[in-house]
Symmetry: C2
Subunit: 364 residues, 2 copies
């Protein structure tokens, strides 16, 4: 989406221009009623599905989006946009400030989940879509989905928050803060001004490593790694000895090649600020909501545990809303939303199919 | 304990001299049968109880050691020594290598929990103590206690492992590895050779912050911090905004003043190497054990969860050993062993009292 006009943020600050990178899959029908917005998580981007020629990697939710899949591109027009504050084409700290010709760095204002959603709304306006058939996302994507249902109740027919929460609790803030401290204590970070030189790759890698532990479960780590060694026996030295160490170092190392450290700061901050409960009881947050909800959680997710999804479900039900809660049994931890495609597909296909059918029959 | 003679490590490497700093509380009886060894955790030291004039801080387990306390200094002679590899007076990477007149740094060999215990055994030999009335420790101290019962079955009458495990699982190794990477990626670390200049305080602080999250529980973090802000409202900036951020930064900042980064590497490595199960089933590890055991775990400890203590208990029982397992209900997480003094005191006093009484009556 091209820039244009000033964009006011929740903090009161404003962006002189707003750029939102996006991809679409499937076709928008003539009355523009089949659009589904997919919201990505911390490290995701607009490339949710399909193969991109330049990198030849399938999108991050490729198994869920396509012909006959959960988000069926034969029926629906799927949109996925890079979040505000991200580093994959949308306005963010690494994007060029047209006023100076240099990256914004820390002069980019702090953004919130609500700001991300407002930016997505601008994109939909630009595309001429007045109403979303559905909005869905996992993890931070789920926060955006919930925020959509709260901010734009009339514009969201259905909402599918997955493996998410309604606010960041102290432990979630704590993990984010460790990641931020790892980045900010890397001398290469240089107060966010590093785009001309060495990037704070060491700090960002440590941040990613911490993150990865929270994305997996004790069980999945045991299954995948246990105490298996990379060599035949312990080397009695500080190099990578256990498989799990090698995996974390690899994940940290590959992440820094594709992600901007400042974006990591901004996005984790947005998650920490997220709090739908801030005006009192959680049910009050949803008093204007009108969507139909499918809330999905995963049994071994300890970053956003099922209990937090159950609280969301309860608050929605207290408002008399149509909500289905499903806890998927999985030992994959938080990452399950990027792994348990079979279960997710069944749940989502059925949920969307019912609404689609009723809409076609004009039962609403 | 003064140095003397070569000390051979589990790795095959050896130390030209061994120094172990220790403190004692209470008096050793004439037949030297009332000695109890207290083993400290990662960041602890020999100063387990009482007030030290120089720093005027009570010992780390002051509430547990003293006249009439769980470890009653009117009955028992309590010993606590700084672990091998530590930085509070015992041989370790920051200690002076007498051959060079400089700190060892990374030339100090990797040590194991078994090595720490063997070093403690040397201390007991030096003190003329042949048999321990009890050995007790929480967290890594519990690993040492278990290792004592395994390495020196004849020399340990009773053993009290608290909030501990029998091996490091993948997730525990992963958290340690993140801490090590944070330290090792700090340029000031300089491959362990920093004693003449700036220490890797930023990396060590991040390592400590990660650790602290694992020492608390989701519940205790909510109770203590929740989403409480340090200022009146969100500042939309990257300074400390939430209380939990301030707490972590404070903990990280105070830790680096009293702890050596290299010791952090060596000690976490020793924990990661710890695996009593490595020769097959866990019960085989205890086949020579003879002690009476009191195994204590805390309900909300997710670093070393009760399930791991139950496995220890089961393996001990499979060997027909006298073992009591107690799960203390607490929301303090792993740190509970440094907080839940009332419960611990009751359990330990009763356990030690019974053994003491029977020994006096010569029932064994």
């Amino acid at each position: 989406m091209p820039g244009g006009g000033s964009f006011v943020l929740e903090s009161g600050a404003s962006l002189a221009e707003l750029r939102i990178a996006y991809q679409t899959y499937g076709e928008l029908n003539s009355d523009k009623t089949n659009a589904i917005l997919i919201c990505h998580a911390l490290s995701g981007d607009a490339h949710a599905a399909g193969i991109e020629s330049e990198e030849e990697k399938p999108g991050w939710w490729n198994e869920m989006i396509g012909p006959g899949k959960a988000f069926d591109t034969e029926k629906f027009f799927i949109i996925c946009s890079n979040i505000l504050g991200g580093c994959k084409g949308s306005s963010g700290p690494s994007a060029i400030n047209t006023a100076t010709g240099k990256p914004h760095g820390l002069s980019f204002p702090i953004v919130s989940i609500k700001d991300m959603v407002n930016a997505q709304k601008k994109l939909l306006d630009f595309l001429g879509i007045q109403k979303l058939f559905s909005v869905c996302g996992g993890s931070m994507g789920g926060m955006q989905a919930l925020q959509w249902a709260v901010s734009y109740p009339e514009e969201v027919i259905s909402c599918i928050p997955i493996a998410t929460t309604y606010k960041h609790f102290a432990q979630q803030i704590a993990f984010d803060e460790v990641g931020r401290q790892a980045i900010m204590s890397d001398p290469a970070w240089n107060n966010g001004d590093y785009y001309d030189g060495k990037h704070p790759v060491a700090g960002l890698a440590v941040a990613r490593m911490v993150g990865h532990i929270t994305y997996m479960s004790h069980e999945s780590m045991e299954q995948k790694f246990g105490r298996v060694l990379k060599k035949k026996e312990l080397g009695h030295e500080f190099s990578t000895e256990f498989e799990v160490e090698g995996y974390l170092r690899y994940r940290g190392g590959s992440f820094v090649k594709r992600f901007d450290a400042n974006s990591y700061l901004y996005i984790t901050k947005a998650m920490d600020y997220f709090d739908l409960q801030k005006d009192g009881e959680l049910r009050h947050a949803f008093k204007r909501a009108k969507s139909k909800f499918l809330v999905i959680a995963f049994s071994s997710d300890w970053l956003y545990p099922p209990a937090q999804s159950k609280e969301i479900t309860r608050a929605l039900k207290m408002n008399g809303l149509d909500v289905t809660y499903c806890e998927v049994s999985s030992n994959c931890g938080h990452d399950a939303f990027l792994i348990e495609f079979e279960e997710e597909t069944k749940l989502i296909k059925h949920f969307l199919g019912n609404i689609y059918k009723k809409l076609k029959e004009k039962k609403w």
